[in-house]
């Protein structure tokens, strides 16, 4: 047996071994569809929501000739309820999908290595370590971010439906289910305010999310943006992260 035959994987004529790269199917189709539907709906919700809080300049003419605020609110309500439907489908998928489809709905707080991972990722973002670790799903820091975002979404959905129920009336099913929000925020004005602040929190999340995704896609040892398009995560090196 020649020397070159012992080299694992493929090599060139000089015996230089090529990297053997792993690709793992992480994000199944429903997860990817949910992600992009969410992105589009949140964009619509933020824009229309902003204009509900600060309406456009007054429309001239007869009131019966225009329905501008009505359409803006309709778009907001329609997008919001579509978002909820997608969220419920996504929750369902967390039960029937692969193990990565469950990740953003819980935090493995009992695992020491997960806490260590958060610290390590923080160091990576503070330029204190040379390379990040490789993770099949979300890295621990991203995991925390995604989980918090889910909590935010739940608050926005609950407060949004509660505010919507005000128009539907207190006998509506929306009020029966989400009216509890008015026990927490007895004056609806403050619920409006917190819902509006939530919009900014989601905007800030989106800014950080896009920056981190692009940065990780360029710098990390694994694919990011193409993964949420194709579902496959490519690892760019074959070095063991946790030597046995």
């Amino acid at each position: 047996m020649t020397e070159i035959a012992r080299v694992h994987g493929v090599g060139d004529a000089n015996g230089e071994r090529a990297k053997s790269l792993q690709t793992i199917y992480v994000y199944e189709a429903p997860v990817r569809i949910w992600h992009w539907a969410n992105a589009a709906l949140i964009l619509v919700l933020c824009v229309t929501g902003y204009f509900i809080g600060t309406p456009l300049p007054s429309v001239p003419g007869e009131a019966s000739a225009s329905f501008q605020m009505g359409y803006i609110r309709f778009a907001h309500f329609a997008a919001g309820q579509t978002l909820i439907v997608f969220f419920l489908l996504r929750l369902y998928w967390a039960f029937v999908g692969n193990k990565f489809s469950r990740q953003i709905f819980y935090l493995p707080i009992s695992k020491r290595i997960w806490w260590w991972g958060i610290l390590y990722e923080l160091k990576w973002y503070m330029f204190l370590v040379k390379d990040p670790k490789k993770y099949v799903g979300h890295n621990p820091l991203a995991h925390v971010a995604m989980f918090s975002f889910m909590l935010f979404l739940v608050f926005m959905m609950a407060s949004g439906m509660a505010l919507y129920s005000e128009g539907q009336g207190i006998d509506s099913w929306q009020y029966k289910i989400f009216g509890f929000m008015f026990s927490i925020f007895p004056n609806a004005q403050s619920l409006h305010t917190w819902h509006h602040l939530g919009m900014w929190a989601i905007t800030i999340f989106a800014i950080v999310h896009v920056y981190a995704a692009v940065r990780e896609d360029i710098l990390s040892r694994q694919s990011m943006i193409s993964s949420i398009v194709s579902g496959e995560r490519l690892f760019r090196d074959d070095i063991d992260d946790f030597p046995r």
Binding site: S64, F67, K130, D131, T193
Partner: protein, 372 residues
Amino acid sequence: MGAGTETFYDVIRRQGITRRSFHKFCSLTATSLGLGPLAATNIANALETKPRVPVIWMHGLECTCCSESFIRSAHPLVKDAVLSMISLDYDDTIMAAAGHQAEAILEETRAKYKGQYILAVEGNPPLNEDGMYCIDGGKPFVEKLKLMADDAMAVIAWGACASWGCVQAAKPNPTQAVPIDKVITNKPIIKVPGCPPIAEVMTGVVTFVTTFGKLPELDRQGRPKMFYSQRIHDKCYRRPHFDAGQFVEEWDDDAARKGYCLYKMGCKGPTTYNACSTVRWNGGVSFPIQSGHGCIGCSEDGFWDQGGFYDRLTTIKQFGVEANADKIGQTAAVVVGGAIVAHAGVTVVRNMARRSKENSTDNSRSNGKSAG
């Protein structure tokens, strides 16, 4: 005052209606309701024997605007409510008795109509310094309130004071004024908020309780559903302008003269549950929005602490600065955006430094782009 035993029949006779007419009325009522042959006698019997409901009306920390509103009721007229429907045994603001005589009525009613009288409370008790900020008849109001509530059938909380606390409970609330449901926990409480509540809503609640002998259906926050289940915004006559996107931008602009929606001027109609846009005020003459001023949300919990009356996006005090959600959100977004740009800049610089230092083509390394 003190004529709590007077029945509805007595009242009817007092108003000059003959016994013959009274029985005709009972027969006609029974027939038109499709009741059996004995019903006319039953109705007559009930009206002859049922005493008018005794009402004790107490005043705590407040401005008497609820009473001022109440005496302007048009449907029913307040004289009918006070003289015919209820037996207003005690109301220190408008009663003839004074001093010890007045105070004696409280004790008398409490003993005589134990568990049968209605306690109407205008204003609220301050708890600080053992209730010394509101002394009524030589005793802290909070003590009298608890005592009278113990033997009441039900409690009516008039106005924003009794329901939510109103201005005396607004931050920083030096007297620790609290809504009455914080000190009365053993009785059903009907909240009739507003600053003041609409006169017809007040007499309407009284009429309901005396007519049916039970409390009206209440919503989640304890308000009668019949008057507080819809927002001002839902029944506002300017609502078409809101849906069309036609807003008053400044108080003296053309849109204000045309009567456009006051949303941008901070109208709290979209978050205020009350009957102003349907019942209106002063016998249905007008209501704030009709008069060109936005709703200030006076029937809502803590309306004094909800920021400006003239801002749509109200200020948030939790963050220690006076700023609305947009200002806070935009500032935070700019700060985060700036931090990201700085972070990206550092990343690029560190990366270039690392690459020129290593300049390696070692295949087993990571992609060689990482910062280090």
